[in-house]
């Protein structure tokens, strides 16, 4: 008679119903009906399929819900399903509830989402947002174990478009100069002989060809010549004003509407991808030459003194740029604002050709 005695005792004392839930690992839990029904997914299962009423017919929970997380979710449901609590009480509970390590928070978010428990999803995603807010990329990667698998270029890309900075372009040019100078030291003498014009009288067409990569022979040579002219010009243009490169940029760029607008772009960020790949070459750490890009900033006839100065500038700039990416970005975003003037679709080689009056030596 004992089992019956038990049952009737049980019934008269508790009058409760339970729902049985099964997690992906096979473990089965018995949960108060009120608490379990707070989850829309469980509620639906019970109402539509009748499952969950006994241990044999436990409701299978989605894979994302493991027993530990299920425990947390049930705690949440247990508190919130009680009627009559004030908003403040709910908020206080929520604040305490989400205090857990980040990994668990993510698991909880995922599990709550699979159970369609929207209030909990909102709560946890808000908590995750608070964790991310204001942190540097490094910190976020550490917190969430994210792989740092973007190349430096890729990291710059979207931000580049958003925050163009002439100083980054300057650095590119300086690097490029250095590289090309190393490569083309052999041609130095030849070039010296050729170049002698004080003025660059290339037309817009030439610039176009130059940018798009010249094909034809004649044009090709012409382009080369121009390229070299340009290089020289650029160097001179840059040297005396390495410190005030930005002003120079603006001076050079502003009287250049025709060249810039050959692409008919007005908005400054509409940098064609090619532009990006050209100037993107910003190896933060290493100097390894990356792309063959037709940036006109190639100088192959520097005199040693200028070269040294250039080297110093490059090193210094590289150091500053690498020291703290995030801090730099902040700085750049803020300070660089007043330098913004002209579409960056401008070809950098085109920017120097108006710099008349500067001779080689």
């Amino acid at each position: 008679m004992q089992p019956y005695h038990h049952v009737s005792n049980h019934e008269s004392h508790h009058m409760k119903s339970y729902i049985w839930l099964k997690t992906a690992d096979g473990a089965i839990q018995q949960v108060d009906e009120d608490v379990a029904m707070f989850c829309p997914m469980i509620c639906r299962e019970v109402l539509q399929t009748g499952m969950g009423a006994s241990k044999l017919h436990a409701i299978s929970l989605p894979q994302r819900v493991n027993p530990a997380i299920l425990g947390l979710i049930l705690d949440y449901c247990r508190f919130h399903q009680v009627p009559g609590r004030s908003n403040k009480e709910h908020k206080t509970f929520d604040e305490k509830f989400i205090r857990m390590d980040t990994k668990k928070l993510c698991e909880l978010t995922s599990a709550a989402d699979s159970l369609q428990l929207k209030p909990l999803v909102d709560l946890t995603s808000r908590a995750l947002a608070r964790i991310i807010e204001g942190k540097t990329a490094e910190q976020i990667r550490e917190t969430f174990h994210l792989p740092d698998d973007l190349t430096e270029e890729e990291k710059l890309e979207p931000l580049r478009n958003i925050t163009d900075d002439p100083r980054i372009r300057l650095l590119n040019r300086l690097y490029a100069k250095k590289r090309e100078e190393l490569k083309e030291r052999k041609k130095l003498k030849n070039v010296e002989v050729e170049e002698d014009e004080p003025k660059d009288e290339r037309s817009v067409d030439d610039l176009l060809l130059f940018i798009n990569g010249a094909n034809g022979d004649m044009k090709g040579t012409r382009v080369n010549k121009n390229k070299k002219k340009n290089r020289r010009r650029k160097d001179h243009a840059k040297d005396p004003s390495l410190q005030n490169s930005n002003e120079n940029d603006s001076k050079e760029l502003s009287p250049l509407p025709s060249a810039c607008h050959h692409d008919n772009f007005d908005s400054s960020f509409v940098a064609s991808p090619s532009k990006n790949s050209r100037t993107q070459d910003l190896p933060a750490v290493n100097f390894s030459p990356k792309l063959e890009f037709i940036d006109g900033d190639l100088d192959d006839d520097l005199d040693p003194a200028m070269k040294e100065e250039l080297d110093r500038e490059v090193e210094d700039f590289a150091r500053r740029l690498n020291s703290d990416w995030e801090a730099r970005m902040q700085e750049i975003l803020c300070e660089g604002q007043d330098r913004r003037l002209v579409p960056i679709s401008t070809s950098t080689n085109g920017s120097t050709h108006l710099h008349t009056g500067l001779h080689r030596r």
Partner: protein, 421 residues
């Protein structure tokens, strides 16, 4: 057991969760997640909510520079964005009107924009481009300080539920036509309009907020209106119009809102309603539970009539808040027409549900005291009546208190709270 998620435990969460996280971040932080890892590169770019608030770009002293950087930032974000944009909001006092705004709105109109809020720098009224009127899926529109002119071919926003125009230059006909061509409109707010004569036809309208110099308001077709808040400013022009008006404003305004639950009126609202003779139209507001009237002129019998009418037509009124608004109450000390009170407030009327009454800026003149007496005598379930005098004047307050103490209270639970500054 073990991890259900790999070592990187956030990147593979469902897109809906990522979106939820990103949209709860300030937009700059959201965009910066692009450098976290290759999976995160473009997660931000499919956010459907873009909010550019005061902090979206770092500030510095150069105001012009900040403005330019905001424009650049917003343009870049839009250009790099992919997918629909459902919510777009700019609330930034540094951003001045600029030609790029037209481009942004054009872009949004092609990307299923549903909620658009534009609040720019004070002082400039930019002209909204006509492409705004091509945003077919718009459900919410809020515009501050701009010029709006719907094109002739505009047939309405079929999905618009909420419209908020604040200091918007628009012709009265255009406003009327916009309102009546949005069949689903539920919430309408018009603020700081000049001398507007308005006719509102909005069969689904539930919430209405009007603030400005309105000459004339006619709620022609608003049967579902639930909450109404009106602040009417006065100009000489409007005052003249009031004098000459022969309409019955009470009826025009409150004649077609049987479902009203909450009524709030500021400044000249009661005066406006008092114009014209409503006769004895038996309009009953069965759902009206809360009435708030500010700057009521107690010395004007007509205004008091309006107040009384409202109160007695609302059998389920629970909360009443009235503030007195005449600046020269002293002129009203000539003997009030006591018949008025006897006639208009029959002692057998009952405010059966009135629980809370709040009266502010009371001067203690006879009209006010009679009104209080009336309320106390007719509210059997009154719980609190709080009275705040307008000026701190000991003598006056004493007089008021002495009279108050005499009044009979229909409710045994009634507490009278006299609050002094």
């Amino acid at each position: 057991m073990g991890d259900v998620l790999g070592p990187d435990f956030i990147s593979d969460l469902p897109q809906s969760i990522i979106e939820s996280i990103l949209t709860q971040l300030p937009i700059r932080d959201a965009v910066r997640t692009s450098i976290l890892s290759s999976k995160w590169r473009y997660k931000w770019a499919s956010m459907t909510h873009l909010v550019f608030d005061e902090k979206c770009v770092p500030l510095c002293n150069d105001r012009d520079g900040v403005d330019k950087s905001i424009v650049k930032f917003i343009t870049s974000v839009l250009f790099l964005h992919q997918g629909p944009i459902h919510k777009f909001r700019i609330t930034n006092s540094y951003l001045q009107s600029c030609p790029e705004i037209d481009q942004w709105i054009l872009f949004l109109s092609r990307n299923d924009i549903k909620e658009l809020v534009l609040e720019l720098e004070e002082g400039e009224f930019f002209r909204i481009p006509s492409c705004l009127f091509n945003c077919k899926k718009l459900t919410r529109l809020e515009l501050f300080r701009c010029e709006l002119e719907p094109p002739l071919t505009f047939k309405g926003f079929m999905c618009l539920k909420s419209l908020n125009l604040h200091q918007v230059l628009i012709s009265p006909d255009a406003i009327d036509s916009i309102i009546s061509s949005c069949p689903l409109l539920e919430s309408l707010s018009l603020s700081y309009f000049d001398s507007l004569a308005l006719t509102i036809r909005a069969p689904n309208l539930k919430y209405l907020n009007l603030e400005g110099e309105f000459k004339d308001i006619c709620l022609e077709d608003t049967p579902l209106l639930v909450e109404l808040s009106v602040a009417m400013y006065m100009t000489d022009d409007i005052a003249e119009h009031f004098e000459q008006s022969s309409n019955c404003n009470f009826f025009k305004f409150l004649g077609g809102v049987p479902n009203l639950e909450k009524l709030v009126g500021h400044i000249y609202f009661t005066k406006y309603l008092s114009i014209g003779n409503p006769g004895n139209l038996p309009i009953i507001y069965n759902n009206l539970e809360s009435i708030e009237l500010y700057q009521v002129g107690f010395e004007d019998m007509n205004e008091m009539l309006v107040v009384l009418r409202l109160i007695t037509s609302s059998p389920n009124l629970k909360e009443l808040q009235i503030s007195q608004g005449s600046s020269n109450m002293s002129s009203a000390t000539d003997a009030p027409n006591m018949d008025f009170w006897a006639k208009k407030c029959p002692s057998d009327s009952t405010l059966g549900h009135l629980k809370v009454v709040k009266l502010t800026d009371m001067c203690g003149v006879p009209q006010e005291m009679e009104f209080i007496k009336f309320l106390l005598g007719c509210s059997p379930v009154l719980e609190i009546m709080s009275i705040a005098p307008c000026v701190h004047d000991m003598e006056n307050e004493m007089r008021m208190l002495i009279e108050l103490v005499k009044f009979r209270r229909a409710s045994t639970k009634a507490e009278i709270v006299f609050t002094r500054e």
